[in-house]
Structure formats: C-alpha cells, structure tokens
C-alpha cells in the first residue's frame, strides 16, 4: 500500500516542520507546554517515518512491483538479503534511511538528555526538526519511494557488483556515522542559540559524537575492503570523490573530538570548536551530496540528478545559519583562558587540529578542483593520486609524530627537558627500527621509511604509557599485574581507549605504507604451464575451468602458487557472466598470508581463444594490517565509550547541586 507510505511521510513532514517552527518559537519565548508539544512532534515523527520504512520493507519482501522503487532495484530471483538491502541502494530509499536514522537518534538524544541540559534542549529540538524537515521535504515532493506504476512481470534487478555482504553492512554503518554527526551539531548550535549554556552538553553528547565517529571510520574502512575485494584493481583507496566524501567529515570530526577535550578541561578553543562541529556536519551533508548528485566526476553535469541542487542549497543555508549564529555569539564564546605556551598539551592538541583540518581542506580542494578550474580556466582539471599522496604524507607524518609526543607533554606549560626525557626510550626504539629497516632494504620508499620510524616511535610511546601506568597502579593498589592493568584501563577509559585507537591508526599507517610503497606488480600473457615470478612468489598457469551457477556462468583460471620451492596450493581468478543483467564481473583471487600480513592478488583479465590467459599479479605487503587496524580501532573506541559509573555519579552530583539552587 504505497498510499500509506506516502501518507506516513506527509505526516512525518508535518510533524518535523511543526517541531522546527513551534519549537523555535517556544525556545525563543520560553513556553514550556509548546516546547513539550514540539518535542512530542519529534518523537512522533520517528514513529511515522518508521511506519513508512516498514511499508517499503514489506513491499520489497513480497516483490510488489507496483512500487516503482521495488521494480527498479530488485528482481524475483534476487536473494532476500539483497532484496531487503536494496532499501538503501537507491536514491529514494537511502533518503528514507537517512530520515529514519535522523529522527531515531535525534529523538533518543533529546529524550535521554532532557532533564540534564535544560537550557540547550529547547533549541536543539527545533534545529533537529529543521534538518529533518529538509529530508522529509525531499521525500514528499522530490524523491518519493512510494511512486507507483503498472507492475511489470519482473523487476530490473540489482547490479551484480552490489550483490555481496558488504552491501548489507556498509551503507547503514556509513549513515549511522554521517547522520550521527547531526547530534553534536544540533546540541552545539542549541547551546549557542540559548546563549547561557554550560559545558554539560559536551559531556552529555560526547558518547554520541564518539559513536558516530567510530561508525564513520569503520564504514570507511569497510568500504575500502569492499573496493579491494570487489572492484579489485589491487589497491585499497583510490582517492575517488565518493571515498573522499566520507573521509572529509571524519577528519574534521577527529579534530573536533580532540579539541573538545581541551574545551572541557581548559575552557578554551570554544569558537574553534563551534566552527569545527558545524564544518563536520556540513561536510557530511556535502559528502552525501557528492555521492548522489554526480556533479563531481569526469562526466560532470547537474542533469545527473536535480537532487544535487537541493542539497547544495541546504548546505548553503546550514553553513550561513551556523556562521551567523557563531558570529552573533562571539562575545559569549571568547574564552578568558589563554594558551600559555607553545610547548604544552593544549598546543599539541591545537597542532593536531591544524594538521587534520589542513588535510581535510586539501582533500576538499582536490574534490572541487575540477569545478573551480573549469569556472576559472574553462577546462576541468582533475587531480590524481600523486596530489593526495603528497599531502597525506606531508600532513600525516607530523600527525603521527604528535600522537607520540602529545600524551607525554604536560598541560599548560611543559619544560622541553621533561619532554625530552620522556621521549628518550621511544625515540631510541624508533631509531633502532629505522636503522634495521634501512639495512633490510626499505630504502626504496624514503617516505615509507620515515613513516615506519615514526610509527615505531608512537607504538613505543604508547607501550611505555601502559607500562608506566600499570606500574603506578600496582604501586598504589598492590594485587597482581593483570589486575593492576585492568584497573588502570577501567579507571581511565578515555585515556587508554584513546591510546588503543592511536595504535590502530599507526597500524593502519604501517599497512598503507606497505601496500603503497613496497608492493610489486607483474602482468603478462600465460600459456598453459607457463610461470611468472612476482616478488617471492612463482605462479604457474594450470588451465581454465568453467562452471554454471544459478544466475551466472563462471570462468576461472587456475594457477599454482609456490614460494621458495614450497607449494602453497592453487588460486582461482576469473570472471562471472550474469545472464539476466548481461553483465560481467571480475572475480579476483586474494591469497592472504597472515603470518606476513601480505596478500597475493591475482586478476585474470582476459581469456584468449587459444587457451592462454592474461593475468596481472600483485603482491601487497602488510595490507592485512589495515583490516586489523579497523578491528583494533573499534575495540579502542568501545573502551572509550564504555559507560563509566564514577563519571555518572559525578555528573549526577553536579546536576543535584545545580538543581538544588533552582529549587531553593
């Protein structure tokens, strides 16, 4: 019943629009009942959007091709999992998912923090309502998932390249990240709008920000793994605008997470933080705009989809409104605390921020450069990987170094002597690693060598932190060393969880440098029985095989792999030909060696009629560290996110103290 779905969306639109307008008025005039009404509207909108989502899901599940959306994205033979996942594979469905997540977590964030942040919530509700109104507007008037048509016999089906488990996980996780950034934005702007906010909203929304950031980061890596295995060109990140679309908000959100710590502890950088959080949110909108509008690509034209213009307009409005609000509240934001020394933890956080934001701006510049150059010079010029790689190294290396130095520097003012002393061991370890690598022949990539030296430095510094902390804890409380360790981490979740996340990033760097700087490639035509040598591996073409699957014909080349005389089995690489869609997909063979964390990557490009095959073989050293880093990243984030009973009690006490005054 598409009518019900449309009705639910119209009702949702009405509700969020009401939440925006009535909520805004209630906050401005201080009307309690009206605000409660607006908050109820926000909650109700979630129920309404959920209903619409369920209608679409039901239509997908029963192959109701009278829904245009169902007809254009699924087919009868599509497995159920992918049929349901096509909820988010198209424009309209993904917008509905966005609105669902937005109203859902928006309602949850407001509901959970209602009593805690009384001055901020009145403004957060209308802001969330306004943002939701945009998406609801699109869904009702521009891109409805409930358009109907005469039901065809069968649907158009899903592109075979999308039919893999990643399609089930990547978009929802990505959206949780993107949309999640709305929460800190709404609360930050709400705090500004209310004009008399304390810092409690930061503490209250910290976990939301952290969770969104984690989802976004993990989704980016998941997307990279997807590209690595399915698109299969041998690399893991192509600096494609669509990839960069998610990277930019993540970088800015990382900067925000760090500098907001400075605001919490030192009451500094408040203007900067307001700018950062607005920037992260605008970039997340920009990110989704990039992937939908098709405006940035080699085929640049707005006619790809008119929805691009809507998004651009909305981003402009959000950016303008945020800027206006920040400027309006500038006197309030100006902090009384000053940066005392350029060698202090505050300064280290500031440098970290500068590099992260600089890198984000670099990526942004690279993404919009084709448009800018076309406007200025008449010819669109695209920048390639060398541009991004250059700046990734230029900004990335100092960032890595800061990860090691930052924790060792004291707040306020650190004496260079004290810093030097703390750095002695990690620096020594780094030097040793550097020399070892140099001797082992890592000279081929100087940037890589420097990167690895820095990586060793940071890992040693982190290890030292854990050791010293455990030692101190043990000295205080006695007991066993493992107990001291768990107690240490348990009592300082933010700090040590953060260290684990840093270690994950360093691991990522090690893997990225490995695959980027120290890989080998070999390609050529192989007749049956012929061998090719790539790095340490020898591959021999044994022959080709054909197999018929349910909806495709599979053609594979079988190659025997050996290394140093040792037989390592065979790999199958080739192509699938899908009948219904008249499409070919390349199925690469990836042989992962977990001990060396490297991959042997085989692409069978072309099967010739004479029985020979054209293969491209790549050795990717240390690439599996990237995926491992993803898991470690989530583990570290979980440690930081874990609810802390003592912190809750502290917050409760503070709330009571404040509440007591109000009641007196």
């Amino acid at each position: 019943m598409p009518g019900l779905g449309s009705a639910a969306l119209v009702v949702a639109f009405g509700l969020v629009a009401y939440a925006a307008v009535a909520g805004g008025y209630a906050a401005y005039r201080g009307r309690r009942r009206l605000l409660e009404s607006a908050t109820n509207a926000l909650f109700a909108s979630f129920a309404s959007v959920l209903l619409a989502a369920l209608v679409l899901l039901a239509a997908l599940a029963r192959h109701d091709f009278s829904f245009s959306y169902v007809a254009s994205h699924t087919s009868r033979e599509l497995p159920l999992g992918y049929t349901l996942a096509s909820f988010w594979s198209g424009q309209e469905g993904s917008l509905l998912l966005w609105l669902l997540v937005l109203t859902g977590i928006g309602s949850a964030a407001v509901a959970l923090n209602r009593r805690l942040i009384r001055t901020v919530i009145p403004w957060t509700v209308p802001i969330l309502g306004a943002i939701a109104s945009f998406f609801a507007l699109l869904l009702v008037f521009v891109a409805s998932p409930f358009a109907t048509q005469v039901a065809p016999a069968d649907g158009a089906g899903m592109n075979p390249s999308l039919q893999n488990p990643y399609m089930l996980a990547h978009p929802p996780l990505l959206y949780l990240g993107y949309v999640g950034l709305t929460i800190p934005f709404a609360f930050a702007m709400g705090a500004l709008a209310s004009g008399r906010a304390d810092e409690r909203w930061i503490i209250a929304t910290r976990r939301w920000t952290l969770a969104s950031w984690t989802f976004l980061g993990f989704a980016i890596l998941l997307g990279a793994k997807w590209a690595y295995e399915e698109v299969g060109w041998g690399g893991w990140y192509a600096w494609d605008p669509v990839e960069n679309a998610a990277l930019m908000p993540w970088l800015v959100a990382t900067a925000y997470l760090h500098s907001v710590m400075v605001q919490e502890k030192k009451n500094m950088l408040r203007v900067w933080n307001a700018v950062l959080v607005a920037g992260a949110f605008c970039l997340s909108l920009f990110g989704t705009f990039l992937t939908r509008s098709g405006v940035i690509s080699s085929i640049h034209s707005f006619t790809q989809s008119s929805i691009g213009a809507w998004f651009l307009g909305f981003i402009a409005v959000v950016a303008a409104a945020s800027t206006a609000l920040i400027i309006y509240r500038l006197p309030l934001l100006r902090s009384r605390t000053r940066l005392e020394s350029l060698v202090s933890r505050e300064a280290a956080f500031l440098y970290n921020n500068l590099f992260l934001v600089a890198f984000a701006l670099t990526v942004l510049w690279g993404v919009i450069y084709p448009l800018v150059s076309e406007a200025v010079r008449g010819v669109a010029v695209t920048v390639g990987a060398p541009y991004y790689d250059f700046f990734a190294v230029a900004f990335g290396l100092p960032l890595v170094l800061l990860m090691g130095i930052g924790p060792l520097v004291a707040w306020r003012r650190a004496s260079l002597r004290a810093v030097g002393r703390s750095l002695l061991w990690p620096a020594g370890a780094a030097l040793a690693v550097g020399i070892l690598l140099l001797l082992a022949g890592a000279r081929s990539s100087p940037a890589g060598l420097v990167g690895y030296t820095f990586a060793a430095f940071v890992l040693a510094a982190i290890a030292l932190e854990f050791v010293r902390g455990t030692r101190a804890r043990h000295a205080l409380g006695g007991g066993s060393w493992p107990a001291a360790f768990t107690s240490l981490v348990g009592r300082n979740r933010r700090r040590y969880g953060g260290y684990v996340v840093h270690a994950a990033i360093v691991l990522l760097l090690v893997g990225a440098v490995g695959i980027g700087g120290f890989g080998t490639t070999q390609e050529g035509k192989l007749t049956q029985g012929q061998s090719v040598q790539v790095g340490d591996y020898t591959l021999t073409y044994l022959g080709s095989e054909q197999r018929r699957a349910a909806n495709s014909q599979e053609l594979r080349a079988r190659l025997a792999v050996s290394r140093g005389g040792e037989d390592l089995g065979t790999v199958l690489a080739g192509k699938n030909r899908y009948f219904a869609e008249q499409q070919t997909s390349s199925e690469v063979a990836i042989r992962s060696d977990w001990l060396r964390a490297e991959d042997l990557f085989v692409i069978a490009d072309q099967f010739n009629p004479d029985g020979s095959v054209f293969v491209k073989v790549i050795v990717n050293p240390l690439v599996n560290l990237i995926w491992l880093a993803g898991l470690l990243f989530v583990a570290g984030a979980l440690i930081t996110l874990w609810p802390d009973a003592r912190e809750q009690r502290r917050l409760a006490r503070r709330f009571a103290e404040e509440g007591a005054l109000a009641r007196a």
Binding site: A238, V242, S298, A358, Y369, V381, T382, V383, F391, T584
Partner: protein, 128 residues
C-alpha cells in the same frame, strides 16, 4: 598578567595561510589532468582524460595486440572520438555506459591506458 594576544590565533592564521599557499601552488604547477569532452580534445596534446558515452560495438580485446577499440560520444552533443585502450577492462564497460579514458591523442585516435566506467546507478566508480 594575561597576554594581550594569544599566540594561538597567530599560529592558526599563519598555518591556514601556509597550507592554502602550498596547495594552491601545487595544483597550479604540478597540475592534474584536464578532463575533456570528445568535442574539446582536438586542440590538446599531452595527457588528458576524456569523458563520454560508448556508442556502437567495441571490437578487439584490451589485452590483445590491437587493443580494445571503441568510440565515445559527447554525453550532451554529437562529437565522437575513436579510442584504443590497452589494460584491464572494468566490469561495467559496455555500449551505452558513460566512461572516462585517460591517455593522449595520436593521429586522430585517442590512445588510452586508463579506463573508468561510471556506474549506471548512483554508486561508486569502477577503476581499472
């Protein structure tokens, strides 16, 4: 005694200016590759990338001696360009798809070594 002007602001301003300068200069000098339409290719020597729609029937094989031969047409226009491509062919390549090829114009034929196919849905590009 509190400082009149915090060094933080100065540091931020200088860093922003420096970063901006660096990448403006980089992109201006090192440049990237011009992205053109088939109608614009004629004047350009050197490495460019051309975007268009595959028309007609492709012939040959990308890994064979003669390469993959096909014609691309302006997405919004009629100008066409013959292309010879050698390399890996992305999965989505087919007549009617929008592609982007990178290489240079030689004797009226565009010799390409990079081929990217734009996904017909809103999803990611496929690389080769």
């Amino acid at each position: 005694m509190a400082r009149r002007r915090s060094p933080a602001r100065l540091v931020i301003a200088l860093s922003v200016a420096a970063a901006l300068a660096i990448f403006l200069v980089y992109t201006a000098l090192a440049g990237g590759t011009p992205s053109l339409r088939p109608s614009q290719v004629a004047g350009h020597d050197g490495r460019v990338s051309v975007a268009g729609r595959v028309v007609g029937q492709p012939s040959g094989t990308a890994r064979g001696p003669e390469g993959l031969r096909f014609t691309i047409k302006d997405v919004q226009g009629t100008a066409t360009l013959p292309v010879v491509y050698r390399g890996s062919v992305p999965d989505l390549f087919k007549t009617g798809r929008d592609v982007s090829v990178e290489g240079s114009l030689q004797n009226g034929v565009f010799v390409a070594d990079k081929l990217v196919t734009k996904c017909p849905s809103k999803y990611t590009n496929k690389q080769s």
